[in-house]
Symmetry: D3
Subunit: 283 residues, 6 copies
């Protein structure tokens, strides 16, 4: 008998019970109810994934050999940031409770706050490893404490000093950079010190968040705030081998905005980052 | 427990058993295995449908009130026209056997031949009602009998004279137009005589095929062969009221090529045509 | 001595004191702080206006002969709908207080609520004349009372029955259409009865809001929710002669989203609508 | 033996000697030496023509039945308007001398002045029939007498009153419209009176110039100055039957700017206009 | 007397007799007869070549100093892979017979098989040097032995082990990579060992095939299957100096798909690769 | 009281009197009066600047700490190169006279000649430091001495040998490269020797001109003549620290063509280059 159409990331066809890792989309990009940007990212990545192979010659691993489920996009309350974060937190909690790894596809960067809370609940010593162009360390953005420009500051509210590792940062206010001097570990412009993390963190639970705008706009034009001077894809690739060696307990990729790249290359990049990251962290 | 991501046309969430109409995609556009055109149409229409309402103020009907299932795209053998047509025929046959109405989203126009064969098997007196910019009546196209430029001629091979009704035609060779004079019913440039069909056909089983390039490229640029001088959307809308009065036993819409319209308007048009057509013919 | 760069709608170079009409932009499209859609509309319209002439052969009027000031975009609190509406209300109030006509360029349609409040304060019998594809009459949208899908319902909260005139509507839920039967004056699909308004309304103060998606997506693809079956530009043009005969005390045009139309045609359309509307209503 | 690649409008493969009509491109759009706009029009039209049929069901004529040669683009002196016009004049003169009909594909509208001079030399009583959105009647444009905004005024310098017939005009300064009252025949907004020309002009030699922006930007977005409110393609089509009945001795189509329409629809429109116009006027 | 329009790669104006190298296009991308992708590549490269100089400062060579003919696109049988390959083989054979070097512009990568057969006929010890993102070593693709995903495997059928040199490969199935271990020479991710070829191959006849997707999608988005992590243009440039030192007897560049890059940059890249490659290998 | 809309580069809100640096746009790209390319660059850069921060972590400087005025675009005489250059010269002279630093945003590269003359008048020993893909050293371009392809040759007419420093050059005729051997200092393909300039030039007055096509088309597709093989943004960034150490008395950035990059990335790059360059040279 015919079945309703499924639309999942390539080869991620495990059931919830079988799965080690569970994908969920966070189609949040503000209060407008149609069209603008990152809300379409997870869907675009699913579609684009079929242009890739399941096998990664970089990691010598294959999606066919691991158990991943794609649960689709979370049904969020458009236009209500507070509720959206709660809904994403609940989704991550459900996955964590079943001892699986939550893998979120944003959405704007603010969405990271939701699942991070659920992860922190289960792993109180969890640290954030962030690849990003922007510090996201403002205390408020035009008076607003919840914003994609403040999200890492909000996470610092949870972890305190020593809990935030930032890489590839090339944009922020002077105040943000100054603040990071005493409150976070931050590498400007590159990710060279990322490889020191396995020694440093050992078995510490890690939440990996990749704001895809850490990549240079040449390879990733489809994002809300393109910032020239970022990573090439080749410069990013070694990060996945580092993540293989960490105790990653949750991850996300955020800030793909498909409408801004008609060529579709940004979608392909995001789909490949998703593959590599899932292969690196799925047990 | 979490479920795998579904991706169906808005509100078309019936099970196969419940459904009166069953949607299936025909992602066929030749032998290239990634990217080119119409293969992405059904997926694009599903995504875009969520920008519409379920209610049609034209027909005063609502998708919430009918039972439709979206079975996804048929898994076709890329690059093998003969097999693809067999696969689409088999899908249509399965739906017809369960006494449901098959609703196909192409794909290039050649795909119509597959389900038409299955429909003709069940309804030997079925006729084709075609809205199109092109005659599609060539006997062969550069030596090839199976092509989007010959598809209606191939269907005529099955129905014989009296079985083909063509509307909105504005492009073809002189030979095609001449041939149509004695073998098909053809209205050039417009669809004014479409409204006579209910009286003419009464209960005759009808296969409706809408090549979306019957619409003017102003409203439908996203197609393989844009032909200026077509229908406005408003000029097309009354066709759905005509289809309501016919004994439509199968239908399709074809030739949306999403990559050629970055604005997304062509997707929105195709999604709306799908809604109106499904509402018109679903019992 | 050199002056800072000004950027105003073509020929709208009056001072505030001189001006009869004052343009202000409402760059609101949700909480995302960069890129998405309608927030860029007013700026795009200003730039595009220089591709037009100041003279309208339709109205036989010239922008050179009237006094209009372009005050730029209001400095809004991104991501806070309630405050944004207050800020727009305050701007309109300042203009009205000086006995000038406020002319707003949105932004998403929700923005209309702000200035409408200020207008209603000065003219308690003001009515809304709306050209739109969508009813915008939901009482709430996914639980949220303030939304572009509810804005006209919110304005009805202020005016009560008899205060809302809707034209060109071709999309909405069945509930919205049913509700409009007893609470608003609504013409479906076209604007033929618009010409009856001068006789009907006489000197009643009128707020004109043009949701540019009343136009067909063929001529106006650059919008958030394209809905096929709308007005051609030629079908819209007579509306401006009707507005000439009404006592229009405020006006806006909304829902241009420049990023969705790379060809720039939507910007040109919006700029021309702005010219015609300003010429029609400026004393 | 293999031959160098030819690139001609579909089916226009006559030799110069055989040809009744000779196509030449005028790739002029100012002094920039790469990329900007209309200079690429003729090449784009040639490529796009292969998406059409050679047969026109409107005119019941076929390019296979007439003799047309495509001589390619004239080798112009970039950035020197005076010389460019001389070069285009010389090309037209060579074609006219051989008693063939020159058919130019612009380029910006200024290019019409060059061939018009050559035509006037051979046919001193030639009149201009212009389809356009803009009057092009300024005496100078920012001090400059040679401009696409002055070209018809320059042609009036040659023909004097009674020599200019303008249709579809919907943009200009008040001065231009006023001037036209006494110096040209001008129909605003539409082309309804075009059908009176055969009776009026009888055998008078006619130069037909179609500024493609006479079409609405919905169907023709790829142009330098889109002006909403223009002709649909269907409204333009009858013009070709009128041209069939005139003594057309030269023609051009101008102002296609391919880079501004990524969908390629504008190219398709221009190619179809070229086919219809060539079929209408080629003996 | 005026001549029909020629359209050749910049400065490639030799006659067949004069020419050392002969360009021919292979506009094959499947069975769809209009629009999709790579079939438009050769034409786009010809047009774009005029934005380059004839002189290469990298190779210190000038197209003005060599004799190249551009014979246009081969007239292929659309939708029939077997025939298309025969037609391309015949074209290459004709060029080789005249002791000239065939230079093909694809088309999808499958096209390489045609001319390779002709080259192998003349030079039985010919080897393939391939730059590519993908292995193209599948034995069949969804049951189909002739596909762009199998083309190098088909060529291996002809050359046997030792005849295939692959560089820059970053995508394939695990099976393909494993198979290459014993059957081809393959460098993953980069082309560093390419410079060893002159010593290794000495005078062995070489067929060079450049799948342009070996380049990173940042610089080459206009291709069917963008795969992040590829070469920058600067990383590719030294390859041409290597090719200068090999006994190259035929070459091609494939997989440019102009519709997928509205910016035109991919066309410019392909045109420059063509210039450098032709300068490197033309005697 | 409300003020007319200002549109200035982010944070460049000084008055003329306060300003150390004055921005002015040169919207020149030939004689076409609407739409084509670089004329829209300055406006696009102003808009895009608001996506950046005012603080540069590279230079550790902030626009908030310097005094810059944005005077808008110069009101040029379209289509008259000679006059345009005079107008730009006059603007630069006015700024220099007030002992401020002129900072021009082009426009095509020819515009540099205008302000260079004014700078040379005040600083007769001024030298040109040029970052570019192209030599721009032709003596004439198709007979025309004033062109974007000849602009540096014209500046050499003023400075004589020893006055021109060229970096990143990767395109030109053989004659241009040969000529540069004896007349200019030219580094091919890279900008490695730029860092020697402070020692070499010491206090010599310097005019910096950055043709943005020195950047690779991967990061800067939005330009008239994309030339693969250019600088990454990271490779360009150190140049700004070099400029900090020079006695820069005037500067410009040229050749951004916004219409050719729908993603907006080129605008973002140009805006960031402007920020860095202004921070580097403003005292």
């Amino acid at each position: 008998m015919m079945q309703p159409n499924k639309h999942v990331y390539m080869a991620c066809e495990a059931t919830f019970e079988e799965a080690s890792t569970v994908i969920y989309g966070a189609p949040f990009d503000g209060t407008v109810s149609n069209r603008p940007g990152t809300r379409f990212a997870a869907d675009a990545i699913r579609s684009e994934s079929y242009g890739l192979e399941t096998y990664s010659p970089y990691l010598n691993k294959d999606l066919e050999d691991v158990q991943i489920m794609d649960s689709g996009d979370v049904d969020i309350t458009i236009g209500n940031k507070v509720k959206v974060l709660e809904e994403l937190e609940a989704t991550a909690r459900e996955i964590l409770k079943a001892d699986k790894l939550p893998f979120m596809i944003g959405g704007e960067h603010l969405v990271t706050l939701g699942p991070f809370r659920a992860v922190h609940e289960k792993y109180p010593d969890v640290v954030l490893v962030q690849l990003d162009a922007h510090t996201d360390l403002r205390d408020d953005y035009m008076g607003e404490p919840l914003s994609h420009a403040t999200v890492v500051r909000r996470i610092h509210d949870i972890t305190g000093d020593g809990g935030i590792y930032q890489y590839g940062i090339r944009s922020g206010t002077k105040e943000e950079f100054d603040w990071s001097d005493t409150h976070t570990t931050l590498e400007k412009f590159s990710i060279n010190t990322l490889k020191d993390l396995p020694d440093l963190l050992k078995d510490t639970p890690v939440y990996v968040t990749i704001d895809l705008d850490c990549l240079d706009p040449s390879i990733f034009p489809g994002t809300g705030t393109p910032e020239p001077g970022g990573l090439t894809y080749k410069e990013l690739e070694p990060a996945f081998k580092v993540f293989e060696q960490l105790n990653v307990v949750a991850a996300d990729i955020v800030e793909l905005s498909p409408p801004y790249d008609a060529s579709g290359v940004s979608n392909a990049v995001a789909a490949k980052v998703a593959r590599e990251l899932m292969l690196a962290i799925t047990k």
